[in-house]
Subunit: 200 residues, 2 copies
């Protein structure tokens, strides 16, 4: 068969940029990463990266293969204020994860745990996409501590529901999960965490 | 080089039995699994399995590569009664995971998420080693629901502390973690979970 001599198509170039972006974000962290350095590592023109993804933020979301834009979801969950925040967060996340778009989430979670690069990406994701908005929009002390504690509960919920598939959490209605787990998240965001644990 | 003609040594036989046990427990579940069927699958005499591991319970712990025997730890954590249970559980688990014996825990967690067999094993582990004792020793309604919710929090803590390594959870003192996270676990075991979420 004759070779066509074509250059790599746009989808292959796009994937090459995303692979370079994942490695770069994982190594440098979100703040230090630049579109210029990612373009250099992918051996493409920075203008092409701009053309495909528009901004560092959107490139990061694409590299994480996020089904939704957390920059849009988080503020709408936080907007009504601190009351009921925990229930809204659980309901929103489970709704996304259960949806068709969220089906690749198990794959993301698997890769997070099996590859160091993915674990770094997940860490950058929380720091950049979750902690940032939470600190800006919620007027609480120790926002990083609160958000990382909320992360333990949300990530664990995802792992037990979709990967370990432990009942009754695996098949529970999202509204039930929100009622059971929401108050734990609520406490992480609004309670005095250094108060002594409940006594008899 | 001349072949020695030796039969497989005890450590290779032991590993062969453990591999057969992991596959069998994952496929059949703990309750249905038998030492006889595991021996058949490993092509060894059931007496040899008895000799190496003594009981189905100890074979399961060895197959899970558990650094400690949950059958010994869980009752001692539950024994003082429901008060302060959450704090004790977090303090005990973090203590085990942080220890030298617990270092392979990240490996276990990685394999849980990257392989279906390991996820099934983890599910069996919770059902057999955690839910059983909790139901027997703690006089509460819906014990499986409570234990699976506590599992979401504990598994998520391990994932965020040791794999994603998100700060400040990653470096926090075990006593701080117990104070911050213990009350969430306490609530799962002792509160009315179907009460409405807190309102303004």
């Amino acid at each position: 068969m004759a070779r066509t001599g074509r250059r790599p198509g746009p989808s292959r170039t796009r994937e090459k940029i995303l692979a370079a972006a994942r490695a770069h974000f994982a190594r440098e962290g979100y703040e230090r990463a630049t579109i210029r350095a990612i373009a250099r590592s992918a051996r493409v023109d920075p203008k092409l990266v701009q053309h495909f993804f528009g901004s560092k933020d959107r490139l990061f979301n694409a590299a994480m293969r996020l089904p939704i834009d957390p920059g849009a979801v988080i503020p709408s969950v936080l907007a009504p204020g601190p009351d009921g925040l925990g229930v809204r967060l659980v309901r929103t996340f489970v709704g996304i994860w259960d949806s068709r778009e969220g089906r690749h989430f198990v794959g993301l979670l698997r890769s997070v745990v099996s590859r160091d690069e993915a674990a770094s990406l997940m860490r950058e994701f929380f720091t950049h996409a979750i902690f940032g908005p939470v600190s800006r929009l919620l007027d609480v002390d120790v926002p990083r501590r609160r958000a990382s504690l909320a992360a333990t509960q949300l990530v664990g919920l995802a792992l037990v529901r979709y990967v370990v598939r432990l009942e009754p959490v695996a098949s529970a209605d999202p509204d039930d999960l929100a009622r059971w787990i929401g108050p734990a998240i609520q406490r992480y965001f609004t309670a005095d965490l250094d108060a002594n644990a409940p006594r008899p």
